[in-house]
Symmetry: C2
Subunit: 221 residues, 2 copies
DNA sequence: TTGACATGGTGTAAAGAGTACACTATGTTG
DNA sequence: CAACATAGTGTACTCTTTACACCATGTCAA
């Protein structure tokens, strides 16, 4: 038992995990095994341990649910409405993470929990205020496409310009002009040719590119 | 006494309170009366009550220290390094607030606390990780000048274009071209002429303007 | 072997946004 | 009424963004 002279809220981290699959922006949800909201889908997350800081907590949750580490993770916003959790006062520090499609490999669902990927436009009803968290994360992601190199975080080691363009189109949900896109993206100088090309299907092979600094997200302009 | 099955961190809100005075960007600091960091300057802030949400907590702290309410307040970032407070685990949700110079009127310092305004470039050593919080808030403010109408939050009911320009120059710490500034700021359509003019000193009087929607900060472009 | 197919790759012109820059207007005060 | 101080105004140039269409090059099937 832990006792305090004043009441303390519980603090959790929740993570909005984005990935791209089948030309769709998807996010990871977990079906809750216990009350409250038993059986409802929710964001992965959990209580912050006393010996870990907030980023570490989010990273740990992420690793536990997806098995991935070393991916892009950014603090989003802190949600603290008084009654957002019916059990006790819970304040959650929300994060969002981007996972390149090739790193994707869900853990075998451990306890009786179900885990699933859902298209951003096909979300089920979510527990708590998680719908708000998702909305904000999505907004932030879309905004950051424009003024940062965050989209590179979705790319595998090697990729073609068409694939990169498809990433932008999928997230923005609108077509992008091919020539202007290439001019723009190359001018950023964030990617470089590998020298290799990829041949697949009955058509001209595509040059392969790689991200110059895969661990940095730069602010543009 | 309050007891829990698992340890809970304490949660506070801290507020970086900005204002403009004497052509300088200033912020409000409080001299700590007790340990830890007794006698050191720190951001106003305090523990989140169990019956108030995070914004309310920040707003309450702000009102208690400055007597102002109804000003612009935005969540900045949540700081949760394990040892940022030597007493116990304390996670702080940082906010920043902008106060128009005319609303400024410090409360009479209540308890033996000293309260003061400091130029952003003349800050004393701060308690905890408050220096980091201030740095981030300042960054955010400067960034938002460019892509939002946040600067209007510093303006009194009526003001001249020269005064508004001075606000930008003070925060950016660089001169702004008068003609381009006027063209730009008017094109935003966020302000309108009052029809009055202000005469002061031995020179041509200036048109007065007001903010059209004083309670909205719009994202530009 | 060759033609159909599918995707890759490329440039230019026009519009719009941003920047640099200097003089006249109009009030007050001595 | 002249000196002064700040208010107010426009244009030309550069840079950025946008719109837009055709040739290149590989595979595969007839």
């Amino acid at each position: 038992m832990y006792t305090y002279a004043y009441p303390h809220p519980a603090v959790t981290t929740d993570v909005v995990v984005f990935t791209l699959r089948d030309q769709e922006l998807k996010l990871l949800l977990i079906k809750r095994g216990g009350d409250p909201y038993k059986g409802k889908w929710a964001l992965p997350g959990g209580f912050v341990q006393m010996d870990e800081d907030l980023d570490s907590s989010a990273r740990r949750e992420l690793a536990e649910e997806t098995g991935v580490s070393g991916v892009y993770l950014e603090q989003l916003y802190t949600f603290g409405a008084v009654n957002r959790d019916p059990r006790e006062r819970v304040i959650t520090v929300a994060y969002y993470a981007l996972i390149p499609s090739d790193k994707l490999q869900l853990r075998a669902a451990t306890d009786a929990e179900a885990v699933g990927w859902f298209g951003i436009d096909e979300l089920p009803r979510l527990a708590f205020d998680h719908r708000d968290i998702v909305r904000l994360a999505h907004q932030r992601l879309v905004a950051k496409l424009d003024y940062s190199t965050i989209a590179f975080q979705f790319m595998p080691m090697e990729f073609t310009l068409s694939e990169l363009q498809a990433v932008y189109q999928t997230i923005l949900q609108e077509p992008v002009d091919k020539r202007n896109f290439r001019k723009w993206i190359l001018a950023l100088e964030g990617i470089e040719e590998t020298g290799e090309e990829r041949r697949d299907g009955a058509h001209r092979p595509a040059m392969l590119y790689r991200v110059k600094h895969p661990n940095k997200v730069e602010i543009i302009k």
